[in-house]
């Protein structure tokens, strides 16, 4: 498969903390990739580095990002618009904030497309309508003439997804697309992503802490912790033979259905602590049930198979 996106040894920091350290990720054309980890592990920051929307006090200290052959970190703003923004669709975590509540849905979907493609009103509207229908939106015409503030959470998700697909994209990025939704709306949106993944040609990069969703969607999975990858592999490698204790812990969380009321829920204890100095030992050791003395020694990113890598000494 030919490569679409390559993030190579990216390091990002702010004044006090290391946010990403030697982070590498690849997405091939058409491939569905998931990035998982808890809040504070650096998932969102890696996306923001790619899209050039880092907060002002955060800087990239080394590494490179290549998308479709373009050097993303080195290119001009114009190149970024033409080669990056028009080829990547982005569905933000908070779909309420990413739509203007008082602006008509049709305007929000069509404006950027019309400018970029010098397209007429009718052409853009037809495309918007077709995409909304493809997201399973009933009553697309009424939605197009509504204001975003009048729509429900599930409908706003669909509008956002349609909006991300307005351009002819190579990559769809979704940041926690299902976490803020009610149970059965969440199921509908999960099914929608699964359908898009089957029917559309573009690649997907999905950030999520919902592992059942990831499992149903992704070809490959990256697991990150405190700014570093701790494991990557094909979806079945990650779920049937997880090699890192952190991956195993994440998978065991959320099995609440099978819990009796007299047992406590599984948890990792504590939370992801920000790292202020680059350290070759394992960042997860403090929370790891299996940690031993050798965890304080330098950990390398080991290869277990052609596709499966892990950062753990055990």
């Amino acid at each position: 498969m030919s490569e679409l996106l390559t993030i190579d040894s990216l390091s990002v920091r702010d004044e006090r903390h290391i946010i990403l350290s030697g982070f590498s990720l690849k997405v091939a054309r058409g491939e569905k990739v998931a990035l998982v980890g808890e809040s504070g592990s650096g998932k969102t920051m890696s996306l923001r580095s790619l899209l050039h929307i880092l907060p002002s006090d955060v800087e990239i200290t080394s590494g490179s990002i290549t998308f479709n052959g373009t050097d993303v970190l080195g290119c001009s703003a114009r190149e970024r618009r033409e080669r990056l923004y028009s080829r990547i669709g982005f569905v933000a975590q908070n779909t309420t904030e990413s739509l203007h509540p008082l602006m008509k849905v049709s305007t929000q979907l069509c404006d950027a497309y019309r400018q970029r493609h010098k397209a007429g009103r009718k052409e853009a509207a037809a495309r918007a309508r077709e995409l909304l229908v493809s997201t399973g939106m009933k009553d697309a015409d009424r939605v197009l003439s509504s204001r975003a503030g009048q729509l429900s959470g599930g409908m706003r998700q669909r509008v956002n997804i349609a909006s991300a697909m307005m351009d002819d994209i190579d990559l769809l990025i979704a940041d926690e697309p299902t976490s803020a939704l009610d149970a059965h709306v969440r199921r509908q949106i999960e099914q929608l992503y699964a359908r898009l993944s089957d029917t559309k040609q573009f690649a997907m990069l999905v950030i999520s802490h919902d592992l059942s969703f990831v499992r149903s969607l992704a070809d490959r999975v990256y697991v990150m912790y405190a700014g570093k990858l701790v494991e990557e592999g094909l979806c079945e490698e990650i779920f049937s033979s997880p090699a890192h204790p952190y991956t195993r812990a994440l998978i065991s969380l959320g099995n609440i259905v099978r819990k009796n009321k007299d047992e406590d829920l599984d948890c990792l204890g504590d939370y992801v602590r920000p790292v202020s100095r680059d350290n070759a030992s394992c960042a997860f050791a403090g929370r790891c049930r299996e940690s031993r003395d050798e965890c304080a020694r330098a950990v390398s990113y080991r290869r277990l198979s052609e596709t499966h890598f892990v950062r753990c000494n055990l």
């Binding site: 149970a183 959320g254 259905v257």
Partner: protein, 253 residues
């Protein structure tokens, strides 16, 4: 006599407008944890606000230990407010962003526990946060400077300081990571068992409600469509809507 009882509550926000709640009746017994599930817009939070006296119903009644809320004297109402504490979804939104977390915690004590001196307040606050697994030095920070899970535990500490009989938890873990969710839920369960606190636990996550609560009310469009014991959720749910909500989890058992 129930600890808390709502009878036929209807809430209409604008005259002639639609009813956010229609004829809702629920009760909470002492020591019980009652769950309210339903999706956004079903009226869960409106009901929570009315139960705790933050909002008033258009019609219907709320009684606390057998007495109508509307008939309580000023002093009794203050005691009620102290006895019923909230934990909200976004802990930071309920804290002054310029206050140190210590000040966030001290304020309700200054208002409600006039019997305590400065030193006693300090030791009570420090004991409470330590019990929740937080370090004392966190108290010098503001709500923005701590993680979501830490901020939520500060919100729980604030609620426990007043030793309430009833805690209303409104989507109190939905914005958190699974692991942090589990920590918070374990903490709340320990509180329940140690102190016998009653809970009204509101969530859109029916699996979590089943696990945490004794009884469940299922809400849809401002009405209660089903009430059942949480142990019987998977086996005895009657209404189509409840079945829709449990659909996924049901398959997994």
């Amino acid at each position: 006599m129930s600890l808390l009882e709502c009878g036929k509550i209807t809430r209409i926000f604008q005259p002639g407008g639609f009813a956010a709640l229609k004829d809702v009746s629920i009760r909470l017994e002492a020591g019980e944890a009652v769950g309210i599930v339903g999706e956004s817009g079903s009226g869960k939070s409106t009901l929570a606000n009315i139960i705790g006296g933050l909002d008033e119903p258009t019609s219907g009644s709320v009684s606390y230990r057998g007495r109508l809320l509307s008939s309580l004297s000023r002093e009794e109402r203050k005691a009620f407010r102290r006895d019923v504490q909230y934990i909200f979804q976004d802990p930071r939104a309920s804290m002054n962003p310029f206050f140190s977390l210590y000040r966030v915690l001290e304020e309700p004590l200054i208002i409600n526990r006039r019997d305590l001196g400065r030193q006693e307040r300090r030791s009570l606050i420090e004991r409470t946060v330590t019990k929740l697994g937080l370090e004392k030095d966190i108290l010098t920070r503001t709500a923005k400077e701590v993680s979501g899970g830490q901020a939520q535990r500060i919100a729980i500490a604030r609620c426990l300081l007043l030793q309430p009989g009833i805690i209303i938890a409104d989507e109190c873990v939905s914005s958190l990571d699974l692991s942090v969710q589990a920590q918070i839920i374990n903490t709340l369960r320990a509180i329940r068992h140690e102190l016998g606190t009653s809970f009204i636990f509101i969530s859109h996550d029916i699996e979590l409600v089943r696990y945490f609560c004794d009884r469940i009310y299922v809400m849809l469009h401002g009405r209660i469509v089903e009430t059942l014991d949480s142990d019987k959720l998977f086996t005895q749910a009657q209404s189509d809507y409840t079945r829709l909500l449990i659909g996924d989890s049901y398959d997994r058992t």
